[in-house]
Symmetry: C2
Subunit: 359 residues, 2 copies
């Protein structure tokens, strides 16, 4: 008998231009006591920004600014957790992540690790988390990662880049305010949106797909095409990319990402390359696996005059290539989804090295 | 400041052919005690069917067979609730609805009314429910109504057909097993699927629409077109119609239905016409409001050789027409969505009567 995942959906979502202003009202009934603060983890690009004045602080609530220049790390989560436990007599009422995938993943991981003992690195994998997280809210300020709706939080650990995948990972509440995505640079907008586009190409071309994930993936892909190839108003474009990210994230329920994500994880692990751009760097050379997707990607890149950096892997040693290849090949479900159960017959270290060398 | 609904999503969903078999495992951790039964409300077409043997009964769990020949009623909910309260010393562990929209709505309403005092008819409206329902699970056996994902349960009451719309209405768990929709008659399959199609036409052409609802509505409409106009395998067709219903229901988050639903409610209230066929009876005459939608509907109807009954309103008295018109016109949000804030200028009793007379 096939066993299907009983997928946890985000139980509350509000969507609308300006809906960030409803945050105070949403948090109010979730406050456990005046001693149990809300902790806002906020991308430090917003320091001094008017957005900060709209954060509804009460009692001993705290804003913690965090740089998203680097990928989120397990030891970063561990130190956030111990800082919070030392600073307060009670567990927080909730963790609110405001930012892109990095901040959303840090918020999810921190909420989980406040109730589960040990280091975040012990939970990288599938269904290792045993206790519910504390209440956590996701507020994306850039669209594409799907972190707002997924059941994972992807972290760089001491020996791998891998998600904490669990039923307790998804946010309890998501606030989708497309206005918050104004002011993102064209490059960042492109790379993060391509995370969604590449997600969808990988899941729609994967062997794990069923009708549930297909319908979400198709819609997300269509929205990406509208955003990156049609001539929408800026407002429509923000709205639609936010929904593309949402549906793209949902499409992962019964699917998996594939070759680009697996190899991009290797780049991130070794070189700290950020996830969005890492996917693009790999994906451009994957016409063998995703011919139509790569053709569309080239059109989008040209339309928005995005120049991808070159020579990233030019000076790497054989040992370094081996490290990336080992990380990439360890992501077995991704390869099985992309190529099938017999993936080891065609996906060899040599093959991956030849692709990495082009980057 | 515009206030956006903080939409409650079904927090757990499993999709897959044969996933009904996972029900026992899903219910196990939700059982409160051996004295707190699970109550299965099941469409009586399944009496003696092999499906019944797969229902995981334990202790004093009970199956209640209910006919879906008539629309669900507030007094039917009231009597189910008092029957359950009298039969058991504890509140049930949960209510599981297995069937089409009628059974799913009865399950939602029963779960709500076990914790909220008075009659179900006192809660027909928006956000009148104050207490969370008991745990409730929806298992559709026919696709199209969107009842599996919506925040309403539509009931015929003593003086209106109107939903109990609340944040506590949605199911806690939905099981989407397309195999359960085998064996539905062509007519029923068509009418119930058209409920979804008409939903989508109404919401996509409505004034309330935003990008969230639009993306779900567009996907649902596209899936309906595939199912009713393309040549899919039966298996694909079942899978895709189940997803169409799901997305169609989600599209209602920030939209509303429109003219067909408003007028169909009048037909149901006066004549007990079932919701799916009622929508079709009205919709065929709405080219003025939905020209493209009605043209597609005609194509679908012809392809599947569906003959809609005629002369339903032929022998009605003026008083009876007035009753239907009163019910239809009382659904103000539907009209505002369809025609705009100034809807009373064009939607007159005479106009509705002229449409009803054709039916």
């Amino acid at each position: 008998m096939t066993k299907y995942r009983n997928f946890p959906m985000v139980p509350r979502v509000v969507f609308g231009q300006g809906c960030f202003k409803q945050l105070g009202e949403i948090l109010l009934p979730k406050r456990k006591s005046s001693e149990a603060p809300f902790i806002f983890l906020v991308d430090d690009v917003f320091e001094g920004h008017e957005l900060i004045n709209s954060i509804p602080l009460l009692f001993n609530d705290q804003i913690i600014f965090i740089s998203a220049d680097e990928e989120p790390k397990t030891n970063q989560v561990d130190s956030l957790v111990s800082q919070l436990i030392q600073s307060y007599t009670e567990l927080p009422s909730g963790i609110i992540g405001i930012g892109g995938g990095t901040l959303l993943d840090l918020a999810k991981a921190t909420a989980l690790m406040l109730t589960n003992p040990g280091s975040a690195s012990e939970y990288q994998g599938w269904d290792l988390i045993k206790k519910p997280a504390i209440y956590h809210v996701g507020i994306p300020t850039i669209s594409g990662t799907g972190a707002e709706v997924s059941r994972t939080t992807v972290l760089l650990g001491p020996d791998k880049k891998l998600g904490i995948n669990s039923d307790f990972t998804p946010f309890d509440q998501v606030i989708l305010d497309p206005d918050l995505t104004q002011g993102v640079s064209t490059e960042q907008w492109f790379y993060t949106g391509m995370d969604c586009f590449i997600h969808c190409v990988e899941s729609l071309n994967g062997t794990f797909l069923n009708a549930f994930s297909q319908s979400y993936g198709e819609k997300a892909l269509e929205l990406c095409k509208e955003v990156y190839l049609d001539s929408l108003s800026e407002e429509d474009s923000r709205d639609k990319l936010m929904m593309a990210s949402w549906h793209g994230g949902m499409s992962i329920a019964y699917s998996q990402v594939g070759v680009a994500h697996a190899m991009s994880y290797g780049l991130s692990y070794l070189l700290g390359v950020k996830h969005g751009i890492g996917n693009c760097l790999v994906f451009q050379y994957l016409e063998e696996f995703y011919p139509e997707g790569v053709a569309l990607f080239d059109q989008m890149r040209e339309k928005h005059q995005i120049k991808l950096p070159k020579g990233i892997c030019a000076n790497l040693s054989d040992t370094e290539f081996d490290t990336m290849i080992k990380v990439a090949m360890s992501l077995e479900p991704l390869w099985e989804n992309a190529v099938g159960k017999e993936w080891r017959k065609t996906i060899t270290p040599q093959k991956l090295k030849s692709i990495y060398k082009k980057i």
